[in-house]
Symmetry: C2
């Protein structure tokens, strides 16, 4: 059983665009639901595609359409779960606001506790690498969101810079196929390697400066990337552009944070145009998704020098949005470009 013939058959009969990820979303929905309307809802694909995919699967003997619902055959379920590694998607939508937000406290409590214990020992943020990490709750929320979107479990995941420790949350709770972190800071590399060995996680960590190209073996090799770049256009290309080049192709997904503290809406527009031109569609843009822990080096920053009143912030003020993009075509991204690190901060920046 293979995915491509299903994709081709559905495309032929509906005349509509789709890719393997489309069919995968329908299959995942079928693992968790029997009612047609619930399947459409869970698949997040258009009705004619969902209906035709079910018809093709029926013809090939994968499922039974009965008066009271649609049921995967046991053999198909086994293939999907064991050979293809597909599981129904978990749900972490906030119960208080009808699912408009995401609530990381719906993650398994033992996972949350272990994550909190590990992150408590993390290296402190230092100014050398423009660090500044998000609250542990924000890291958990970012992980929960990507997990819920189907971008973690069974996936090859690349993390470009990980002072937020999202790799830890992924390895603890996300059942990834493999996680690769590239990180410039020796302290973080050692911290993550220690836990990877200690916990026998499928996690490898490479010390690497993202002004330089990624190893060639990383190109077109990952299903998902996550990153939180400095916010000049050059830094965006160095981090997100390299992330795009590392994605396998259609159906692969990327996540990044972008603030309005160091990036104006004018810069947002440039970033969005770049993504659209790379063949990526923006599936989610959620403002104020992450809050940052105030950093120790605040009085050394430009923000401090610009502040008309010199008092330290006493609660989180630096927040960023969460972007998710999904590729519809192979992205070019940034492969060979070497960037000058001095271009990683521009005139809108203030945290170094």
């Amino acid at each position: 059983m293979r995915m491509e013939p299903i994709v081709e058959r559905v495309a032929e009969r509906t005349g509509l665009p789709l890719n393997a990820r489309t069919v995968e979303r329908v299959l995942r929905a079928l693992l968790g639901h029997h009612d047609f309307w619930e399947i459409v809802d869970a698949a997040d694909e258009v009705v004619p595609i969902v209906a035709e995919t079910i018809r093709v699967l029926d013809e090939q003997g994968w499922l039974r359409v009965e008066p009271h619902g649609i049921f995967l055959r046991e053999s198909a379920r086994e293939t999907l779960e064991q050979e293809w590694g597909l599981r129904p998607l978990p749900d972490f939508r906030c119960l208080a606001c009808e699912g408009r937000g995401i609530d990381p406290l719906r993650l398994p409590s033992e996972g949350i506790e272990t994550f909190m214990a590990i992150q408590a020992e993390r290296p402190r943020a230092i100014i050398d690498y423009d660090q500044g990490y998000i609250t542990p709750e924000s890291t958990l929320a970012r992980f929960a969101f990507a997990f819920m979107r189907g971008d973690i479990q069974g996936r090859r995941v690349l993390i470009l810079g990980d002072d937020d420790l999202v790799s830890v949350a992924i390895c603890l709770m996300g059942a990834p196929q493999e996680v690769v972190v590239v990180e410039i800071d020796r302290r973080l590399v050692e911290f993550l390697e220690y836990w990877a060995n200690h916990m026998r996680w499928p996690l490898t960590v490479h010390q690497l400066d993202l002004s330089q190209p990624l190893p060639v073996s990383f190109l077109r090799a990952f299903d998902t990337f996550l990153t939180d770049p400095p916010e000049s256009i050059a830094a965006f290309r160095a981090f997100v552009g390299r992330g795009l080049a590392a994605l396998r192709g259609p159906g692969s997904a990327g996540y990044f944070g972008l603030t309005r503290r160091e990036a104006s809406l004018f810069k947002w527009h440039q970033v969005q145009r770049y993504l659209i031109e790379q063949g990526a569609v923006l599936t989610d843009v959620i403002q104020n998704f992450h809050a940052y822990v105030n950093w120790d080096y605040a009085p050394k920053t430009r923000a401090w020098r610009l502040a008309p009143v010199k008092s330290l912030p006493d609660k989180p003020w630096y927040r960023s949005s969460l972007y998710r993009v999904e590729l519809l075509t192979e992205a070019v991204g940034e492969v060979d470009t070497v960037f000058d690190v001095h271009t990683f901060n521009d005139a809108e920046a203030s945290t170094t």
Copy 2:
């Protein structure tokens, strides 16, 4: 006191792009906060712009910078509130999920109750106009979101099609300057006109078919538009494109819903490219923001004909995302184009 000289001065000194809306966001933040970091957080503008705007306002005698914070002078506050009609922004972020979602139950309870009572008497959705309305909770959430973003209070608001009754929520709780609804369905026009007269709302309703151009007096006349179009590209241009043409210019905002039930990510990409090219930046894309009330005419739809199992949905399955865009330049949009209504449904559609 005028906005433009402040914008020019800040632009000159920082060399950064900004517009009147940028300065307005800083002014609104100053109405509600005294701590510099809280002001940056509330303004959602980059630190150098916020700092320079405060410096210019200080030089012009609008505020006092003191060791314990930044304080608008009483005369400036009066001007802002009374002449300019600016108020601090309300906050409806969900308290359960750290503000990642929005919770309409934080709206004033008497407003919610009146809205629920009025909407209970609404005309039923009919297939003729591809109607299908969102749950009243979803309408309240959409309103709360736009209110919180500063796009309702004191604004001229255009609503293109209003079977969701968002105009009712706006007039009850949003203190708009004026609301204009264009709507094709005579029953809805009469319903809204009845309540506008009865409640003395600043609401006018025009019966209009959006395949036809808007009246010329609507062009470049509104601060905000809201719409929930059918989901072909032609319908998107007819509804959102006319909305863009009705906006005043930089800093004006548009809201619309887009599903994944009738619009694939391939169509999302086309829509996003159109918006970027129109000089609009996507500030928010929130999936599954709205849930729809199941419509009475379900068995007459293509979705029903496509469904492999003919059973009516027993809970909400049709959801849409909320998009917010903000103009950075004047948009061209759609001014004269007449659309064939038959192009309002495409091969991905299924609800008519």
